[in-house]
Amino acid sequence: MAKTHQYCVAENWGKGFIEHSESRKIAFFGLPGNVWQVPAHNKDANLWINKVLGTAKTKDEAQTIVDVEVTAAQNSWDALSDEQKANSTRPADIILEE
């Protein structure tokens, strides 16, 4: 099956990290662990990854990074008091798509 997404790790430095001109052309989806999902086989997305000095990751590698962050968040939530839990939801697993 052809890939729909590609993944990279890049730290969001703030202003200029994603420009309006880029977000109009690229569907961004930020994930825990500074993992970014952008369209595969997309010239604009490739240029953006180069701009932000992104480190390319396979879907499985990206999934591992996200899992570490989500598991930590789940453990943190599990340690909350029942009162605190009542006003929040347990972090859900995030399943990345190919």
């Binding site: 430095w13 703030g14 309006h20 930020g30 962050e69 968040a73 789940q74 006003n87 939801t89 347990r90």
Partner: protein, 322 residues
């Protein structure tokens, strides 16, 4: 010679305010010029803004895209409720005066130099405390009659409205602030918490909320009426909101979405997605230029990222001879 009426089948209209039908030509008698509506020349979009110094969620937000204020909130890593205030200039955040009582999930209103923070949860429980910011420091204002957290807020420092929220259970209470004291006003039709809000004291908007619900209500300064329901399925809980009652933005929210919805005073349309899914964020601005900042990612991990929204650009051109 061909005439406009001959081509279009009707004459050029004489109007006092500009219509917004793409391709339409008219004579504006107020400006005494012929005009043309050229349609949308720039699509709405999101872009990254400067990162906050203190990552947090459940924070208050006020001001505009280029003059925003972030205050209080919660940082799970510490873990602690923070009283930190930060000021945004459109590109970077700098520290402001800290609140006297740090809170999580508080209500907010006003501008960067005249902000209002009210209610919320502190380390000692649900609060009715109000604090006023003058651009450098916070001072106490009048207390809410009904302390609560997870509430909505709109307006200015001297003309604010607080509505909904959590005080043991979801409530529908509305209170009005005059710069020194809160008084009760008409209850909402649907009690709720964890909603987004926009507008002013006399034209406020309550968007979604826990459930999640797609219910939208409009306030006129004394009573609430039903607005256009949000489209479904969309993020409708713990989302960000900014703008006015007739031009509002609702963005992201639970569960883990980047959705943007645009309200025109009667119905919602789908806008461009933001890049980072988040909930319980701060927000500021208008439908032509807004911002969201902070919030929690993966339900529980606080972030410091800012995103800036630019609304669609529509163009009305004046016709001249050369």
């Amino acid at each position: 010679m061909a005439t406009y009426k001959g081509i279009q089948g009707f004459a050029i209209q004489n109007v006092t305010s500009d219509p917004t039908t793409v391709g339409q030509v008219w004579y504006n008698s107020s400006n005494t010029v012929f005009k043309l509506f050229d349609g949308v020349t720039g699509n709405a979009s999101w872009a990254s803004g400067g990162n906050m110094g203190t990552a947090r969620y459940g924070l208050g937000g006020a001001g505009t895209q280029t003059s925003a204020l972030a205050f209080s909130g919660y940082n799970r890593s510490t873990p602690a409720i923070t009283n930190v205030t930060e000021e945004y200039n459109g590109s970077s955040w700098t520290g402001g005066g800290n609140m006297a009582t740090g809170r999580n999930r508080l209500g907010s209103a006003g501008t960067q130099t005249a902000a209002l923070g009210f209610g919320g949860n502190s380390t000692t429980g649900t609060q009715n405390i109000t604090e006023e910011y003058d651009g450098s420091s916070w001072t106490n204002g009048g207390n809410l009659n009904n302390g609560r957290s997870h509430l909505g807020g709109a307006g200015t420092q001297t003309a604010a409205v607080a509505f909904a929220g959590l005080a043991g259970s979801d409530n529908a209470r509305t209170e009005l602030y005059n710069g020194s004291a809160w008084t009760t006003s008409g209850n909402m039709g649907t009690g709720r918490s964890q909603l987004a809000s926009a507008g002013t004291q006399t034209a406020a908007l309550a968007i979604g909320g826990n459930g999640p619900t797609s219910t939208v209500e409009e306030f006129n300064g004394s009573s609430w009426t039903a607005g256009g329901s949000m489209p479904s399925p969309r993020g409708m809980e713990n989302q960000g909101g900014f703008g006015t009652q007739t031009a509002a933005i609702s963005v992201a929210g639970q569960p883990y979405t980047t959705n943007t919805n645009v309200y025109d005073g009667s119905s919602w349309t789908i806008g461009p997605n933001c890049s980072t899914p988040r909930q319980r964020m701060g927000s500021a601005g208008t439908s032509s230029g807004g911002a969201i900042f902070g919030g929690s990612q993966s339900d529980d991990g606080q972030i410091n990222a800012t995103e800036e929204f630019t609304g669609a650009v529509v163009a009305t051109k004046t016709i001249t001879t050369t």
